[in-house]
Structures are given as C-alpha cells and as structure tokens.
Subunit: 373 residues, 2 copies
C-alpha cells in the first residue's frame, strides 16, 4: 500500500457512482404534473433539483443518509449523534435554495431491531428536530437481515419557500463576498477515507486523540460513558452542524428588510459536503471563487492529512476543512450580514469573494484550485 491516500483508494468510486446515477436519471421522463399545478417540477437556474410548485409556494424535498460514518457509530455502539447527522445532511441542503425546513421522516434498515439502539436513535432524532425546528412526521424501521449487516440510517426533509424567493446563484456577481460558517468537525462526508487512514495507522476509535482537539469554534459531544481524555471516536462522531439557526433566521431577516438587507442580497448558499470546496462550482456556470481568508481547519483534519499522507488538494475536495457552509452576499451589505450572523454563531468569517476569472475555486494561501466538481 502506498503512503499516499485518496478517496478513490479508500474504496469510493465517485465516477462509478456518478455514472450509475446518470443512468438512473436518463431513464426518467418528464413529470406528468404540468406547470401551474401542485407537484409540477420547478427547474431553477444553477441546476437545483427537488423543488415542486404548490400554489404561491415552492416545496422542496431533500433525501440523504449518514453514510459510512454509521460504521464507526455501530462499532462503538454510540448513536447520540447520528440522528443529528441525518437531519443535517438533509436540512442543510434545503437551506441552499432558501427553503425553510418544516418536517422530516427517517428510514432505518437493520439486520435485527434493537430497542436500546432505537431509543438512542429516537433521542438523537428528537434533538435533531429541535435544532432544525422541524416536525418528525413519520419513519420506517425495516428488518432486512439478508440485505444489511448493520444499521443504515437515511431520511427525507421537507421545506418550503415563497415563489420568487428562491436563492439559486443566478444573481451572483464578481465582487460578492463569501461568508464562511464553521463546521463542527468532519460532518458526514469522507468517512471511507477516515476509516482507511485509521486502519492504516493501526489505531482504535477508543484510543485517546494523539492531538489537541480543542477549537474555539466548536465543541465535541462527549459520549455518555466517557470520563477522561477525548477519544478519536468522539471526535470523528461529533454530529454535523445543523445550520437552520442561523440561516433560516437570516433569510427571514432579509425578507423583513428590518436589518437593511434583502433576500436579493443573499446571492448563493453552498453546503460543503463530499467534494469539499469544489461544491462551490455548482452555484454558477461562469464565475469563480477565491478563498483568501479561510476558517482554520479543525485539528483532526490536519492530523488525518499527516498520518494518512493525504495531499492538501485531496483533503479540500473530500472534507469541509472547518467550513461547512458558505454564503455569498452582495458586497454592499456584507458587513451588515456578517455582523448579524456573528451574533448568532461563533467563528463566522468573511473568507473570500466571487471573482470573474474563470470557473474555478482557488484557495490562494495553499495554492490549490478546483475547476471540476
């Protein structure tokens, strides 16, 4: 095994996944629901999907799972965070079009149901609903011993927005200011690589972290039974940040106009998931992005890069590297919006700007760039 690791060598073939999804999509036809009726599909600029018409509103659906982070939760029998992860992956996607999440349903597949695990999942989902301010409107638990060998958890979130108030990136302009919202850790992407690095290093998730994990912009959720030093498992299972607070409130404040900025001043919102910084490319077909004042990566990212010999370029297109959401705003009101957000959440920073220099994301301090998602 080479010392250099990347996402593909960790067993995730992004191209194959993309090709499978493309096959599925190409088999789909046009919706039978016609424009102007409830359920008619809405194609927004920027390629955002998942939106349908509903009277004066648009409804948005997002569906996603926790992925292989669950394997660490299973191994440690620690479930307090995964409901939050599942919620976050979905509601954070809804926020990107300016939708307010209102409801959620979960899907759990297990080889055999375990009431204790389900109680912990329920508590985690309850906390997730509180953080995302949504109603848990149902769920399904399937016993599938012939299909799953351990617990899988996914979910679907429903959100809404007023027609004409979608945030799509179409009004982005060179000079727009990028505001970065800190992540809480690795969130729910890149775990195949995390697990590969851990295996390569011969470390256990119950081992104490061989680095100082403290950070002024996030706290790590301790396991219930932990009484001592922070373990690698606790750091890696830290739940994904749910950004409904402050992003829903930011949008409402913009709608009201009471703080001197409007919805039109919020030009684009990007959830930094698998693909890392390259996610920004999805927001516009021509413009580029320059990050010149980044949020500092949490210690675990630096440690993973070092112990795994992962190149910086690969790290920033696999992980969020400390910044889980980026909001592009009109430069005229950037300071106001930044101040407003900073009162709600620690660690928010102006990290860069939109530039008209080709469709690419440049991290200027590190000299890395991405021109493909």
């Amino acid at each position: 095994m080479s010392d250099k690791m990347d996402y593909a060598s960790a067993g995730v073939d992004i191209d194959l996944e993309g090709s499978a999804v493309a096959s599925l999509i190409s088999s789909l036809g046009k919706s039978v629901r016609s424009t102007g009726t409830p359920g008619a599909p809405v194609d927004l600029p920027g390629g955002f999907g998942g939106l349908i018409e509903f009277g004066d509103h648009l409804l948005a659906l997002a569906t996603d799972g926790v992925g292989s982070k669950l394997q660490i939760a299973s191994m440690l029998n620690q479930w307090a965070g995964v409901g939050i992860d599942c919620m976050a992956m979905n509601v954070n996607d809804l926020l990107c079009v300016g939708a307010e999440p209102i409801a959620f349903v979960d899907y759990v597949a297990v080889p055999k149901p375990d009431p204790e695990v389900h109680a912990a999942l329920g508590a985690s989902l309850a906390e997730a609903c509180r953080l995302a301010r949504v109603t848990l409107a149902g769920g399904e638990t399937a016993s599938l011993p012939g299909i799953v060998t351990e617990l899988d958890l996914s979910g679907t979130a429903l959100g809404y927005l007023k027609k004409g108030e979608a945030i799509t990136g179409e009004n982005l302009q060179a000079g727009d200011v990028l505001i970065g919202l800190p992540s809480s850790g690795i969130h729910s992407n890149g775990y195949s690589l995390v697990r590969k690095i851990m295996q390569h290093a011969g470390l256990q998730y119950t081992d104490n972290a061989p680095f100082d994990s403290s950070s002024s912009i996030r706290e790590v959720m301790r396991f219930n039974d932990s009484n001592g030093e922070m373990t690698l498992g606790e750091i890696f299972l830290n739940p994904t940040r749910i950004y409904c607070d402050p992003v829903v409130d930011l949008i409402k404040s913009a709608q009201s106009g009471e703080n001197g900025f409007s919805v039109k001043d919020i030009r684009g919102i990007c959830h930094i998931t698998g693909g890392g910084l390259s996610n920004l490319l999805r927001l516009h077909e021509q413009l580029g992005w320059e990050i010149d004042n980044p949020i500092a990566p949490h210690p675990e990212f630096l440690w993973l890069a070092e112990i795994g010999g992962v190149e910086t370029w690969e790290m920033y297109r696999t992980f969020n590297m400390g910044c889980g959401m980026i909001i592009a705003v009109n430069s005229e009101h950037a300071d106001k919006i930044h101040s407003w957000l900073s009162e709600k959440m620690a660690g928010i920073k102006i990290i860069g700007s939109v530039v008209d220099n080709g469709r690419k994301v440049v991290h200027s301090q590190l000299g890395i760039e991405y021109s493909h998602y």
Copy 2:
C-alpha cells in the same frame, strides 16, 4: 423443521420490531412547530401520522421501503418492478388519509453502484411516477459496502389535501359498505415467509410455476428476457398495484359532488399491507368488520399456503390475499361508488360491511377473525 410455517418462524419478529419503534417514538418530544404555522403536526382521529399543517392545506409524508422482495429481484437481476413497489408502498399509504400524492424521492443503498441496475431502476421509477402521477423530486444513491451486501431501495412520498377533508375513519358507522380493490399479487409484504416456503420446498425462482397463475383481475409483468411459461420469480416479483388511479379520482369526484356522493361518504380507506386483514382494526377503536363476499385470492396465495403448510388465519394476517385496498363508504351511496370505481378498474367488489359487534375483523366464509393488529 415443522411443516407449519408462520411469519415469526420466517425470521421476522414483529414484536421486537414494534418494541424498537416504540422505543424510538417514546424518545421523541413534542414538535417545536406550533399549531397554525407551517409544519405543525396534525393528529387525526384514528392515529394517522405524517400530517403537517400548511396554510389551508395539510401535507402528508410517507416513507417505506420494498423490503425483502428486493432479495428476489437481486437474485434474478430483475429490477423493472421494484421502483413501482417502492412507489406503491408509499403513495397507497397517503391515499388512506385522502391525500393526493404529488412528489417522490428515492434512496438506494448499494455495496457498489452498477450503472445497468441503476438504469433499470430509473426506468422502473419513471413508470411508477407515471402510474402514481407524481414528480420524482430527487434521490440519493449511497455506496455502503460495509453496511449493505445487496441493494436496498426505499423512498418518501409527499401528498396534500385540503384542511377538513381528511379521511380518518372517525365517521365510520355500522352498516357502511366495504369495497375491495384487487391486488396485483403479493405486493411488498410477507416476503420473508415466501422465501422461507420456497427454500423449504426446494424450488428455484426460475422454475415454471407449478400452478395456473392466470387471474381475470390482474396481469403478471413478464421479464424482458422471458419467452415461455410463467416462472415463480415473475409471479412473486409482480409489482404492487398503485391505487392513485382510481382512488385520487374517486376523491376528486366526491369533492365535486358531480356523481351524487361527497367526501363525507368515503368513511375510511385501508391499505392492506403486512398484517393483512387486521389492518382494518387501525381505522376505528370500537367498530368491527365483516368480510362475507371476498375477492378470490390469486392462485399463488393458495399454492403458498398448501406447499408451506401455512394456516389460513396466518395467511390472512400476513398477505393481502387478493385484496390490496378496502374503502368503507356510506351504504346509501355504495352502489354509486362501486359502479364509479368499477368503470376504472376490473375486479372491484362489495366485499362486506362495518358492524357494531366488537372491534374485530371477521372473514365469515373461512371462519377466521382478528381482534389485534
């Protein structure tokens, strides 16, 4: 192994599943969304969940998967029906509260993506969207080689209805007439038992059916590459009937009043899933149900009972036995509604009535009854 088989011996512990789900639910608190705002939970009589407020409307979410029927699809590499199964399990649930399904999202978990399988799934979901008249508003494919050993497919459907027009069973009365809608076969419940019986009998899914599978009220979808006698695999993978057509149209006709009956005349709608006839008990706390003129079970049900030595009582609480949906209507308009439905779908029958003789379901011809769900 005993000759007698039931659902529990097939490896599905319904009590354990119920206990796990109860654990999850008991961990959940009240929703943070308050009455009168979008997303506030709505508790309907009869315990229907999944409904939330949205202005003058209610929105409904349903989430469910295809379950172990997928294991037969995987074994045979036949995917044309499973997208329809996945859609059906969800939209048929929405119909039971009188909601019109409008959108759907799918979640696929695979050990490794296969573009050919995904193309077939896409075609199946496209057909399902056409049959259910919904927009496919998104989907997720997760590669989870450490969690799933073969493909898992689930989904979430979104529907809506006007406030005050929910169908809940609360207006049910003794004397109401039960209209049965034929199933297309086993649908998507009871497959652990089907697979157990097949294994016990030493038969292959590629074997020709050792019985005449023809039925005047359903057609079996042939595999693309099949050219000959009907196989057991084709019969067992026949996709679940999607009842949007005719049930959505029935509700619309009732809303318009143009055919002489109103929404209030549709007293209850029951999707016959796992639990078989006992599903009816969910509609009312006191009233009972008498089935005295049932739809004849499809040949495969009789064959499974015989070859597996499964008792009749067990069959009717595991499978739909030929009837996939039951609509309880005001007896005054039962003939009109029955005639209206019969023009849209073959095999629809008046199968029994609501009775005030204790909370139980009685199948009088067979002398079996159910008093617990």
